[in-house]
Amino acid sequence: MNLVTFSGPPSSGKTAVILKTIESLHDRGLKVGVVKFDCLYTDDDLLYKKVGVPVKKGLSGSLCPDHYFVSNIEEVVQWGLDKELDLLITESAGLCNRCSPYIKDVKAVCVIDNLSGINTPRKIGPMLKTADMVVITKGDIVSQAEREVFASKVNTVNPDALVMHVNGLTGQGSFEFSTLLFDEDEDINTVKGKKLRFSMPSAMCSYCLGETRIGEEHQLGNVRKIDLGDSGV
């Protein structure tokens, strides 16, 4: 089985890109399944079901979705093997832009959109910096110049990544993208023993443990302070 991890800011078009790409993969007779990771709510699983794609969703609730991802990925891989998939896709939204779910030696795709602003490539950190492929969406509604500038920013932040434009609405570019996702020779039976590409945050503070009161005396553990210069307290 092949495994690909998709990641990207909320509403960047991950699901639309994956759906269009699966159409092309189906044309090649491949069996594709998806596991969607989200925080509080998603009904994207219904969109996958509608086109006959085996799908599971995982809601992390009060936990960080990427931490939840790592704690569950092995079980998810076993589910995919059980369903006899040729390709298993995991989809997760990066929320704080600090974690990224990419695993060493497992294909990693970051989806980001042209509308998100010129400094976004710089802002989203490990999710973009450690990806193998970057898919840029929503190119049909911004100018050619903005597309070129945005792509060049992505290239500056992650020069190794393969950059592609895919339109999640019309599917333009999705066939081409699909040819890069599946590799005959790849066969993953487990991700046990593999490692994340980038560590999850080491921070652990009183608020992680349920503290709700505000004030210095309630702040324990790993605390970082904002630099307000002279005007600071």
Binding site: D27, N114, L115, G117, I118, P121, R122, G125, P126, K129, T130, G139, D140, I141, V142, S143, Q144, A145, E146, E148, V149, A151, S152, K153, V154, N155, T156, V157, N158, P159, D160, L162, V163, M164, H165, T170, Q172, G173, F175, E176, T179, F198, P201, R224
Partner: protein, 343 residues
């Protein structure tokens, strides 16, 4: 080119001297450079764990990414020389699997080709084949040749230089910048040398195309539809790295379409135009008829058709005058070109 060990132990200053654009790399990577005489190795030695976490990459990874960045940029700069003189499309098959009935379509730069066909007929697929420089590996089985040869795969994956630039009615500017700032940003990403002159020229050409003029200090998001279109066309013609331009249904966009096409063609671009506007279609040298996923025919614009252009333009300018009259609250007047209906 530096090796990984060399680049880690060369001062930032020295690397910048050789490759000036890498300053941008350090800025985007947020690497804290206090002193440019330091090497990457020295910088990483003094970095705090918080800064290290923000950079994401380790010292080795940063060196590798920097080398890759320089490689990409050198390639990007080099590609300007090997221009696309012509593009050929070799036939594949339509949706039913029947072979397309033409031999080989070669389009030279400076040529305008119209693409016509109903929605869903395969116009987008044709464009995608060109953009992907298909070599029998897309659903149509078409092959794309550049300058008569099998196309280099580099066109498929590069971030900055795509084979096809696109302009369509639905596109808008979304950045919060003035016209001037915006053009400088674009020019910077293209590593253009005479930035100021190029920016000035784009604004001048755009104003020539637009009905109403705009100033360099105007916000791009505040431009009218016609002004935006004019700026997009002038910018794409002059600054875009793509040798092929696809124009998708730019109909009555409040710009001088004839001048726009001339500008694009004058910059040695290959212009493909998906349109059902007879005036635009007749400005093309040939038109590709798409049906059922395949190229059904290629028609050369005949002299007889071209002679119709004059009357079509007259009707068009009549309509435009009426629009202007409406806009300025004048009474509509009948044009004498319709006097033959007055029997």
């Amino acid at each position: 080119m530096y090796s990984k060990i060399e680049i880690k132990n060369t001062s930032i200053e020295e690397i910048i001297k050789k490759y000036p654009y890498i300053e941008n790399f350090f800025k985007e990577q947020e690497i804290p450079i206090e002193n440019k005489s330091q090497t990457l190795n020295e910088i990483f030695k003094n970095i705090s764990s918080i800064e290290r976490e923000d950079i994401v990459y380790s010292e080795d990874e940063t060196a590798e990414k920097l080398i890759q960045y320089i490689k990409n940029m050198q390639e990007f700069l080099g590609v300007e020389d090997n221009t696309v003189k012509n593009l050929s499309i070799l036939p594949g098959k339509d949706k039913e699997g029947y072979a397309e009935k033409y031999e080989k379509l070669t389009i030279k730069n400076g040529e305008i080709i119209s693409i016509v066909g109903p929605t869903g007929s395969g116009k987008s697929r044709l464009l995608a084949d060109i953009e992907w420089t298909a070599s029998g590996d897309t659903p149509t089985g078409r092959h794309i040749l550049i300058n008569g040869e099998k196309a280099d795969k580099k066109w498929r994956f590069s971030g900055g230089k795509k084979l096809v630039a696109q302009l369509s009615q639905n596109m808008n500017f979304v950045m919060d910048l003035s016209v001037e700032e915006f053009l400088h940003l674009h020019a910077e990403s293209r590593l253009i040398e005479n930035e100021d002159q190029v920016v000035e020229r784009i604004i001048e050409e755009a104003n020539r195309l637009a009905g109403e003029k705009f100033s360099p200090g105007a916000q791009i998001t505040g431009l009218s539809g016609g002004q935006s279109r004019a700026l997009m066309i002038a910018d794409t013609a002059i600054l875009s790295s793509s040798p092929i331009i696809l124009i998708d249904e730019i109909e009555n966009a409040g710009i001088n379409r004839e001048k726009a096409l001339k500008l694009l063609v004058g910059e040695e671009k290959i212009v493909l135009m998906a349109t059902h506007d007879p005036i635009l279609a007749l400005m093309g040298d040939r038109r590709i008829i798409i049906n059922n996923g395949g190229i059904a025919d290629i028609i050369k614009t005949s002299e007889k058709e071209k002679s119709m252009l004059k009357e079509l333009k007259e009707i068009d300018s009549y309509l435009n005058e009426l629009r202007e009259d409406l806009r300025y609250g004048r009474e509509l007047k009948r044009n004498n070109i319709f006097s033959l209906y007055d029997a």
